[in-house]
């Protein structure tokens, strides 16, 4: 069973690797290979060479065949890998279409897959057809902007567009402004937050949806600290912005609460944050999450919390655990992330975009769509996530019963109010106060978190 899983994952991983290899590096490799082959084969370079035995003017037929075989093999490998990424246009009987713009691949076992499945939920619920564009980020698709993709989707009849990354801000704002008649949802954004910093009242067609992942992160941090023996927790962060800071803070608070609940001293808890620079690994641009996680474990961390879109933290931890080390990991984003490496996975805080997205699609259908700012709280009963909750936490094989109980108990104590997570006394890294004793911060203060908290190690991205 386990072996089978490994095989499946390896295969998936190989496929993912292939695709990113082709996308990111084809020009580089291509250019170098062609440079060399041109230098060798270019007829002009050879015509005044008289060493006929050593350098041939014509290409050796055997070599030609060899090249062709290599080429075909490579392409077959790619096609074998990509053929199972199913086509989305299976159900065309519906009347409506909607667009889904993903920042990474649709099967990343993380953020983008969660959105993709949210889109599939719409397809199943109301039969609308989804038009998917994945890899829409400056590294993978430098020649494609979000605004262009949105325009193309609208061309094809999409009546609703989902832009699913904070990185798509500029593009979706532009698209919303130039297509005022098409409804759009920018997940994680704040353009419709009336009290927010970047409120865009003129964009009446652009709504925001986000789940209160703070709960999920609280439980993730709690579970991590509960399972940690050393108290050294490594947090693999993506890029630094308001959202990632507040979620990282929530994870820290969760870790703190559970660490204390276990009867330990707060001074023994080391919570270190390292940011890689983007939501996933871009070679040459971001830090390599594989390296970061290995460094964590080398420095004595025994539980890694991942906050990036892709599951590198899980695979690395699994490898280290297989080498006999006592290390565990918490995933992120996608409900079934733990399936990647079930044995070392404590659990995963996840998004369930389906209900919110179906709601948006239905409202477009009955013309009741409005530019709402939704920051949806989870549905927890006794700390256990309900099935239709927007965000939640799902335990994995590596979670002990004791931890499960502790997480549920502490989560239940929050009473479903996000402000309770950040209840005072609570200070930022520079000593400034987020909330004093007995006080709770406002939603505004939570949303626009400017710094990491006192007690955490890591860059706040301050100016």
């Amino acid at each position: 069973m386990l072996i089978q899983f490994h095989f499946t994952y390896c295969y998936k991983n190989v496929k993912f690797y292939f695709l990113s290899l082709i996308k990111v590096n084809i020009q580089l490799f291509g250019a170098i290979i062609f440079c060399i082959s041109w230098k060798i084969f270019h007829p002009d370079n050879l015509i005044h060479t008289r060493g006929y035995i050593l350098i041939d003017k014509t290409i050796n037929p055997k070599r030609l065949i060899f090249i062709l075989v290599c080429l075909t093999t490579l392409l077959l490998a790619v096609s074998a890998c990509s053929s199972d990424s199913d086509s989305s246009s299976s159900n065309s009987s519906s009347i409506d279409k909607f667009g889904m713009i993903l920042v990474g691949p649709r099967d990343d076992k993380g953020w983008s897959q969660a959105h993709f499945e949210g889109g599939e939920a719409i397809e199943n619920a109301i039969g609308a057809e989804m038009i998917v564009a994945d890899f829409i980020n400056p590294a993978d698709s430098p020649n494609t902007t979000v605004a262009q993709v949105a325009a193309d989707m609208i061309d094809q009849g999409a009546k609703l567009i989902f832009a699913t990354s904070d990185d798509m801000k500029d593009g979706i704002l532009e698209a919303a402004a130039s297509h005022p008649d098409v409804s759009m949802v920018w997940s994680t954004g704040d353009s419709a937050f009336k009290d927010g910093k970047d409120y865009k009242p003129e964009l009446e067609n652009l709504a925001n949806v986000m789940g209160q992942m703070e709960f999920g992160k609280y439980m993730a941090g709690c579970a991590a600290a509960s399972e940690s023996k050393s108290g050294n927790i490594g947090f693999l962060g993506p890029l630094i912005n308001d959202e990632t800071r507040r979620l990282t803070n929530a994870a820290y608070i969760g870790a703190r609460d559970c660490w204390l609940d276990k009867g330990n001293s707060i001074s023994d808890l080391n919570f270190e944050v390292i940011w890689i620079g983007f939501w996933f690994h871009i070679p040459g641009v971001t830090l390599d999450p594989t390296t970061v996680v290995n460094d964590f474990i080398d420095s004595g961390v025994d539980v890694v919390i991942s906050h990036i879109d892709t599951p590198e933290a899980l695979t690395v931890t699994d490898q280290r655990a297989a080498a006999g080390e006592d290390v565990l990991v918490v995933g992120y984003d996608y409900e079934n992330s733990c399936d990647v490496t079930p044995e070392v996975c404590i659990g995963v805080p996840y998004f369930n975009w389906g209900p919110a997205y179906i709601d948006a699609a239905k409202r477009v259908g009955n013309n009741s769509f409005s530019a709402d700012f939704q920051w949806i709280a989870p549905k927890l009963t006794n700390g256990v996530t309900a099935e239709d909750s927007m965000v939640g936490f799902k335990g994995g094989n590596a979670m002990s019963e004791e931890t499960r109980k502790r997480v549920n108990r502490l989560a239940d104590q929050l009473n479903g109010d996000i402000a309770n997570i950040f209840a005072g006394p609570i200070n930022f890294q520079d000593g400034s106060v987020l909330a004093s004793e007995g006080k709770k911060p406002s939603l505004y203060d939570i949303w626009y978190t400017p710094q990491l908290l006192e007690g955490m190690t890591g860059d706040s991205g301050g100016n």
């Binding site: 392409l75 890029l239 871009i282």
Partner: protein
Amino acid sequence: MYKIILQNSIATFLSVISVTIVLLILQVMPFEIYGNLFDGSFGSLDKISRTLLIATIMALAGFALVVTFSTGLWNIGIEGQMLFGAIGATFIARTFLAEYFFAPIIIIIFGTLFGSFLGLLSAILKTRFNVHEIFGGLGINFVASGLIVYLVIGPWKREGIASTGGTDLFPKSSWINGIGDSNFPIYPIIIAIIVFITLFILLSRTSLGLKLIATGTNKDAADKFKIDSVKHILYAFIIAGAIGGIAGAIQAASIHHKLVPNIAGGYGFLGILIALIAGRNLFTVVVISIIFASIMVGGVQLQLRLGLDSSFPYIIESVFVMSWLIIKASKIDSKLLMLLVNKETDFG
């Protein structure tokens, strides 16, 4: 001349056939793909605009490479030069100058300067320190992309955010916009035409151009003609860097409106391929750039309409290039041409 055009047509035809075969192997309908590619790149004014903008950038990268290829140099550093052009553009866009109506002009000028600076660096590495330009170029690309990441998450980051997703948007006054309400990239095209004409005159009508070519063909002989090859290598790299810088600046000011780490987008490397295919012919560079741009822009449709993987355009492009190069190298095209015209050997 006819012979060359005929030969190239045969090579193109054969390349398209091999692309078709590969597509069939991948079990997709080639003609559906070609149709979508065409429609996706030329189907509407907006799409034509997009294709032309990308083609402009590719063509500029190709032009830059034509200059260095003429001088017998491998300007692998073109990516870095484009990155530096974009850095130069961003530098201006972040100053008070960006508020004025003439901001785009200054942006282009600074892109040119920054790009040529990096070109000069490659040249100095080669001539003074004897570093082969391929390795120097690779190193320079590395440095440039490192610098750009540093700038994006360091000094030029968005307020309160540290993300490699990019800097703040440029002020609108410094965007290079389309004509009127449309996105038709009239200014980039004008710039490209100016570069085209300048290069055409330079390479075919001036002794400087002829000396550049001479240096590239045979350095020893250039020496006998009293041509200072070191000086001409510097010139070639500076000119190429300047053109690459323009391409980078346009990329920043016209497409992204901000600085992102991968802003060169691989167009530099693509430019190498374009120049390789086109030889030293500037006009062919334009044609191939348009073909490549339409594959890139239209390729998005393959994903959106046919649900194909987003790597398809790259596959089509690389198979096309590889077939072309193999056909050219093995002289299949000229042999076929011989078969076709048989006795008529006198083509002139």
